[in-house]
Amino acid sequence: MSSKRQNRIRNGLIATAILLVIGLVSYWKSSSTLVINFVDENGTPVTAPLKTIGRPNAVYNLTAAKVPGYTLNRTHYQFKYTYGTSQQQVIYHPDTVASLDKLLKAKYIGVSAQDITTNTFNGVQSTPYEQSDNRLRVLYANRLNDWHTFSTNYPDVAIQDPTLFQLGEFWFIAYTGGVLRSTDLSNWDVIATTPSPKFHNVIAPSLVHVGKKTDMIFMATVPKRKELASFVAPFNETTGQPKLTQAKRIRGVTGPSTSASLYQGRTGYYLTYSEQDSGVVYIKKSKTITGKYRLVRKIVPVKGSFYYAPTFALDEAGKVRGIVYSSYYYDESGDLAYNGAFMQSKILTKTPPIQLTGQFAFQKFSVIKLGAD
């Protein structure tokens, strides 16, 4: 063999060895993130997505969690995924008929929002990320401390501060940004609230029967000022839009607050809201719907926690059955941690609060008592 040829082979071998070492080092150092989303048939997340880190092309074995009321279209719950494909989906199918049967026989029905970025553990859900992402959940219960999530295909819309309202055969769920309308709690009309020049954002709305009409109570920035205030406006059930041009300010809400709830009693109107800085829930009364509301009772939170988003729990006849409020605190990392909702069965006198517990830590919770006593 000529020396020229030998040199060429030697150079080739050295180059191959260098390339091999570079390739191996970058392979060992490389990692890829696999995200598995657990969604219903509408693509709405059912639980928090699973995230895992691994070497590209390695296999990740997943045992999908059993979600009560939902099934997979297969007999086993084992999946194999390859790292490198960034997003995967596991589709859960709701057993709506059986769940609806239980819901219609239940004593209470409620709505809340579930943060689907993290899990609830020991009744507490913390929100570590800069942005949280909430989805609607309809719940039913026979006992207040044992709520079940209604299994259906939920609308894939970010829902914050939902409140439930019944009108004839329609269910209305008002949330920050719009209204959902449904007759069967499975097919949803998503109606976004059209902003008016005066009101750009309608925050934490709730619907209320006032005489034979329906009104929307909502928070919004006061025109020309930066503070939030509560307003009442007539609501059109056919279009699903509030008449924002006829909105009137409710007087008597003091201190910064992000949501207010109202109902018409026999001797006047009752308003409840929580003060953001202290977490104290105020119940106030007035003879007219726009106020001025005067203090009737305060609910002071336990030290370290804050109560927020109080709502009146009504029955189907519109009679008040109690007050529901939610609670949060700041955990050791300074993250907001939701630790559930509470209900007191009387609004004017102190009654022991019952913790509303279910499959996740409830945020704002709106309850209607179904049927007769």
């Binding site: 895992t52 300074g334 993250d335």
Partner: protein, 190 residues
């Protein structure tokens, strides 16, 4: 005298001299493109309970506890339960670092990952585990997690990387052209 206009006009004649340096620079830049990572930095402050003195001298000692199996294992379990994040202990150890502290009253913990949420979750959980572990070891000290944690993006912006490789490619090409001209004229012969 050559100006930018004449430079680009003349470049067409010697295009291989510019093209090949640009290709080499782009190849080098490709190592850094697509390697963006997020770094989540949090701090634990330690203070003596009695005299309220900051415990700056012992911080390097506490730093050695960070990768203790107790801390890493409890962070791993919490990540799965609270955040639905499955990472191995080896990955957690590799992603979490602590910076040496010369003086100061806080222990700095940094978590690095490609996904911003993963970096945040790993950083927060390791910090929380460290906070509770240190709390059991140091009953006479007050510990506090600094609420001002930071999230930073690390890595080359593709547009900047392309622009810089284009400019350095042109500069190397021009350098080569000048060198060849002077050699051709015999100016560089000794």
């Amino acid at each position: 005298m050559e100006n930018l206009y004449t430079f680009f006009k003349n470049m067409r004649k010697d295009w291989p001299l510019f093209l090949f340096p640009i290709i080499v620079c782009l190849a080098f830049a490709s190592i850094f493109i697509g390697n963006e990572q997020t770094v989540f930095v949090s701090r634990i402050q330690v203070q003596s309970r009695g005299d309220r003195q900051w415990d700056s001298l012992s911080i390097p000692v506490y730093q050695t506890i960070l990768k203790n199996p107790t801390v890493i294992r409890s962070a791993q379990i919490a990540l799965k339960k609270d955040y639905n994040i499955a990472v191995s202990q080896a990955q957690l150890v590799a992603s979490v670092t602590t910076k040496p502290v010369v003086h100061g009253n806080a222990m700095v913990i940094a978590a690095t990952a490609r996904d911003p949420e993963l970096a945040t979750a790993m950083g927060k959980q390791v910090t929380a585990s460290m906070y509770y572990t240190l709390g059991t070891y140091l009953p006479t000290k007050d510990l506090r997690i600094d609420p001002r944690a930071t999230v930073k993006q690390q890595g080359a912006n593709p547009v900047y990387a392309l622009l810089i490789s284009l400019l350095s490619g042109l500069a190397i090409g021009q350098g080569l052209r000048l060198l060849m001209r002077r050699r051709g004229k015999g100016e560089l012969d000794v």
